[in-house]
Subunit: 167 residues, 2 copies
Amino acid sequence: MSSGFALGEVHVSSSPQERFAEYLQSRGKRITSQRKALVDHIFERHDHFDAEELIDNISGANRENRISRPTVYRTLNELVEAGLLRRFSLRGRAVYEHDYGYPAHDHLHCTICDELIEFQTDELPRLREAVAREHGFRVTGHRLIISGICRDCSAKRHRRQSPLDLI
Amino acid sequence: MSSGFALGEVHVSSSPQERFAEYLQSRGKRITSQRKALVDHIFERHDHFDAEELIDNISGANRENRISRPTVYRTLNELVEAGLLRRFSLRGRAVYEHDYGYPAHDHLHCTICDELIEFQTDELPRLREAVAREHGFRVTGHRLIISGICRDCSAKRHRRQSPLDLI
DNA sequence: GTTGTTGCAAATTTTTTGCACCCAC
DNA sequence: GTGGGTGCAAAAAATTTGCAACAAC
């Protein structure tokens, strides 16, 4: 997926690359090859990942143009700030997912295989607002994770589940 | 609040101390002064805390009978396993709350003052089951955190909110 | 007395930071 | 050319573990 940072183009429904470029420019930050490579890589496919995974994948793909661990962490923070990624915490470590061009959704988390399954319901926004109104709370977001055992793991084993349920 | 580990008593609606004692016994684990002190201290009042807070409080109260950091962590894990505490993650570190004698509830999290406000709704369990059924998922729990700005912080400042929204 | 527990120190894991060199603007 | 970025190594923060002394059973 080649994708330059086309700037000065249409400002409607831009790509994540363009959005990130706008964000960087608006802050006087620079568009570097590392940041380009990371955004491209991250938005090539939709799924959940953590910093370690990203570092491994990037290093595996571009052996000579590898990106350092600190830079990956710094860029992930910028992408969250830019509103392109969402971050949450699972088993005590940060997990990221696209927050761009993807409908709001929540997750089922299998405590056995660690898989995240997305689901969507229109009841949440309603509930969110109702609760917030009751408490004079100004909502900016929410995070719902339903934990349990997925269909596959239920079928595979009938052993005890992991005691480590750090959501 | 004095509270021994009265064993062999009624098995209905026992205290957290009793419940923990039962848990320990059932696993061949031992009832030690440290574990007693921790359970007593934790269930003296209802609120949210993290490991560091607990260590500070315990050390402040019992200067001579202080409890080491590793023991606090180990006991917290046991209390979670025993079903007496729930653990989740906020801003990248583990937060605990009672899961005993306290109705199921969820949280509003103020990203400014970091306060947790509890709320309760009977819609969640319904929603949870509906979603789970749809995905062949066996639910063991859930975690909903609605983030935003609480009434007080809204009143106090009209500045920007914290960019660090690691839920 | 046996076996699990504690405290210490050290290791691990995840993430951040200081700094000299480098590169986008 | 200049100010922000990168990579390195090292620090920080949170949590876990190995082990010898110790205490509950």
